[in-house]
């Protein structure tokens, strides 16, 4: 099954800067990859989906890239705000597409 690696150390940045989070996977390249946001004590909330044939996807201040050669996705938040502070989870479908497997997540802290 898939193994997903996200940086377990928190990422601290200043408001207005671009945050870049990394997701690496180790096995087969999935048909798509997803990013979720999770606030403390709450359920994950879907942000973006990127398919294997897409290099880049944007939604407002969010940008996701997907490099199947490197087996890596990068998640960018431009012009970051304190309200962006949360844990960001990378998720991939496992074999058969019946379930999503989640990474451990990276905590982002945006200071004013």
């Amino acid at each position: 099954s898939q193994k997903i690696e996200q940086n377990s150390e928190a990422l601290n940045i200043q408001e207005g800067k671009t945050a870049t989070l990394t997701c690496n996977y180790t096995n087969y390249s999935p048909a798509y990859l997803q990013w979720y946001r999770q606030d403390p004590g709450r359920g994950p909330v879907f942000l973006l989906l990127i398919r294997e044939n897409e290099k880049e996807k944007r939604k407002e201040r969010l940008k996701v890239t997907f490099d199947t050669t490197l087996k890596q996705s990068l998640f960018h938040i431009t012009a970051s705000q304190p309200a962006d502070s949360a844990t960001y989870l990378c998720a991939l479908p496992d074999t058969g597409f019946q379930k999503l497997v989640f990474g451990t997540g990276t905590r982002l802290l945006v200071s004013p």
Binding site: R42, Q98, L100
Partner: protein, 115 residues
Amino acid sequence: EPEVTQTPSHQVTQMGQEVILRCVPISNHLYFYWYRQILGQKVEFLVSFYNNEISEKSEIFDDQFSVERPDGSNFTLKIRSTKLEDSAMYFCASRKGQGASGELFFGEGSRLTVL
């Protein structure tokens, strides 16, 4: 906007007791899931449910666990005899279909504390 709802938000129980966690998925969704998250750890898959039967389950989902969709709207997770290590946040999720719309919609979770 449609959402997944879960009850209770928090349950405290004694070890060995039975617990039922309830979920109402989004009405036109076809796939249903339970995930759990132990404090400080990752969101872990427990079980998926489609067409009124379990489609996949993890190693965690042993004989102490069961799921049901008794009436076409509720989706329940039962833990027959709780253990201390069952203490976690349990998330229900639903999905419209596979392939193109793969995103999961999660509920706010049920926090289970086993004493």
